[in-house]
């Protein structure tokens, strides 16, 4: 697979480490208690189809990327820097 890095252009997937469901961007408020954290830590979506997921460019520039990928075709629909998604408030 090739992942189009927003800063570096198309990069081989072997340069990346996969984390999974981008829901991990939404860490609950610490005051919300263990139930909210249980959901955050243990529950993940694993859809057959469009999936928003986190990839880490570990053997590259160490960017965390939010990749929108079709898990059936591996088509990559969108790639953005995770930190820009967070600061843009669109996560």
């Amino acid at each position: 697979m090739l992942i189009p890095h927003p800063l570096l252009g198309p990069r081989d997937a072997q340069e990346f480490t996969y984390l999974g469901d981008a829901a991990l961007l939404n860490r609950p408020d610490p005051a919300s208690g263990t139930a909210a954290f249980c959901d955050y830590v243990y529950l993940r979506d694993n859809p057959a189809g469009t999936h928003r997921e986190l990839w880490y460019h570990e053997y590259g520039d160490r960017s965390w990327l939010l990749v929108t990928r079709d898990t059936l075709s591996h088509e990559i629909l969108d790639v953005r820097l995770a930190r820009e998604v967070k600061t843009g408030g669109t996560a």
Partner: protein, 976 residues
Amino acid sequence: MTQTRLPGGLIDRNQPLSFTFNGRKLQGYQGDTLASALMANDIRLVARSFKYHRPRGIFSAGSEEPNALLTLGEGADADPNTRATVVPLREGLVARSQNHAGPLGWDLWSVNDLAAPFFAAGFYYKTFMWPRAFWEKLYEPAIRRAAGLGALSQLPDPETYDKGFLHCDLLVIGGGAAGLSAALTAGRAGANVILADEDLRLGGRLLAESDPLDDAPAADWVARAEAELRALPNVRVMPRTTVFGVYDHGVYGAVEQVSDLPGAALRQTLWRITAKRAVMATGATERHIPFRDNDRPGILLAGAMRAYANRWAVAPARGKVAIFTNNDDGHRTALDLQAKGVDLLGVIDSRTGARPFGDYPIFAGGRVTGTSGRRGLRAIRLAWNGREEELACAALGVSGGWNPNIQLASHHRGRPQWDAARLAFLAQGGPEGLIPAGAAAGEGSTHHALTSGHHAAADALRQLGLTTPAPALPRAEDRQGGAEAFWHVPGKGRAWVDFQNDVTVKDIKLAHQENMRSVEHLKRWTTLGMATDQGKTSNVTALAVMAELTGRSIPETGTTIFRPPYTPVSLSVLGGGDTGAHFRPTRLTPTHAWAKAQGALFVEAGQWMRAQYFPRPGETHWRQSVDREVLAVRAGVGLCDVTTLGKIDVQGADAGEFLNRIYANMMGTLAVGKVRYGLMLREDGFAYDDGTCARLGESHYVVTTTTSNAGLVLRTMEFARQCLWPDLDVTLISTTDAWAQIAVAGPNARRLLSRVVDGFDLSNETFPFMACAELTVAKGCPARLFRISFSGELAYEIAVPARYGQALMDRLMREGADLGVTPYGTEALSVLRIEKGHAAGAELNGQTTALMLGLGRMVSQKKDSIGAVMSRREGLAQDTRRLVGLQAVDPARPLPAGSHLFREGAARDTATDQGWITSACYSPHVGGHIALGFLEEGDTRLGEIVIAANPLQGTEAACRVVPAQFVDPEGGRLRD
């Protein structure tokens, strides 16, 4: 040479080559394959079949070969299951047949053939079921010995392999008429082109045919095309390169056979080719027509027979040759053989209205109903005009039509589609950017192959925004196939569909009777289409037979899907040379060469090689060295390279706040010039990693991690920085390799260090325990000094730029000679930390909590941090197991790590399990074996005797529960 050699061909008769087959010395020519050379020596029997041990001969002339699998080479170089049809003959080649007991001609296992009624598909599943224990001990070993292919040498592969990456605009897969045409079009247009072909020379089927191009031999045009392509700087021509798989986003896997010679500088290269577009000009594979006893040596695909005659100038046997066909292509073989002077028996054509294309007998509407000849074809049975007769015949060419090679187009689950007019499956919905052309697209004639290759390349280039000049293609034959559906000759006896797996028409019938209605079930139950040939000559025929049995059409019956690899790929080339010492990078500490010179033994710690201990003359057991090193640290001073601990530089206005959220304990309040022990949790509340955090400036921290977690902790911290709290002003960088760090530990540590620092005041008052500073040593070398201790002694860790690490070690050794300075390795380091009760990897194994480690109070309640909320959840917060020290009651009795702890007299089972030992060693300080472990309510059971049981080793030892700190529990030594 014998009479099977014909005139002409693309072999060089001035270059004879000697080779051996089963020890027999034989000769062929440069340009031969092993298969054509065997045929030229009139050797028809070359193999025994997989299950029935039937005599088998060469069946094809290409990579689809199901029968002629041989073992090449000897010893460690032996390469089993090599298709003789794709091996270029070379001087001294050693080939052997496989899968037989005794000589090839008198295989003892051919009794399996007599017992054939018992060996039908599914036989093993049904028969060898009971008793269950017999499967592993008796049935499977026996079956494995008798069935199967070649044997591995069981020795490491001595050859050299490599891997590489290539990029192009257009990848052309296949160098036949369509592929050459596509490559010429794209090359002339200036596109970046790779042309890959599995064969030794370009040309594909053009080399196997007698038809001219522009009234000249096709090989002339091929040579001119190749010369033009090789002269273009934007084209890379790669013969002997098999594209075996299509992967996501235009990535293609290919193996290039660089050399066949044993001991060559390079045998194969694995290429990852990233192509914007690709042309699948992979040609077509002929199919056969099953009839009774159709597997005898001498029965070949008709197109292969033609290739042997035209390209390699060899007839399939001495004597008469017959053709059995359902289409016009079979007649081409007859004409070409006749032109070469082969004695033609005639053409048996299943089509009732068939007419001859030349001067030879034709048996229109005829069919072959049987054969005879024990080790090679002697006669065929012909049913024609209502009569059956036996005709002497040494070879039979069979043509059942051609299957486009669409495997690559299926690698992304593209479902092939049946084309009723062409009687073939065509690619449909294949990988994006892969365009079929030529015979692979069902375009059978040379004219069509040339034009469709051009169009495919032009389409691809148009998509990339390039225009292509008008083609200058040679005039070529433009015949139509004229095939009529005829899938198998019904009748008694066994008619093979899949030669490699010994699957017959009967097996398919049986599968159907057993309700294996899906083709996927048929495949798995009969093993049809498996192994090295992946059913290239059998899959479609099997589908057609099954369709006939079920009364459904072929599209209704469906097809199995192709997966990579197209042809077998060796594990060696997938490793690409990354074996042994090259399996992964090795990281050496800055003092590695010095430690080696001191005679150190090394141990792998992740990627690092660390000094394990430093034996001295007279020491015969590792324990002597380690005990000496430990005692030297406790009594004097020792040196240990601790560079491998992960170091992460944390800077920014919000660095303190960031670390507050990373560590369970408070870091923001740490004073400049101080160090604090830090514990990280995972978000699920379990302990993750520990280390020290030093504050070098207002907005500058340096944190350390354990050696093994260095990369993971940086990943986690980057996740927190970018994905959780991007609003914080903080940056991170790993400085593990930038700084050499040496632990200086022992009562004499301060005296030794004072001799190397540049006037720095090391007194306890100005530089107390847990202080840190930036300073210079050895007259101006920049350094960082941390007063921290892993051993429990007065200790420091001093860091200098990595390139000065060895010089610093040398200097410290010299300056400390009168203080008894002693280098120590990881073994002593481990003993020292166990004696001091410090947690390490075995205690922080991902299943333990801060509470269990006795560090529960470190998890700050005043702030949020990763894992803080979950560490307080039910189940974790109530855990009653605690880290304790354990001291062997009999000091000489070891307490193996991994032992479980039980009360005295209790049963040894999970219900009575009280905990386990994590780390253990012999303690020279205590004078006996000690351990660390987790014990139920361990903090309240000091003094109690428990049993450490290790059922795996069959050992038990009584031990006393003691505080985890065996050395200086008050910590006075650290603070002196």
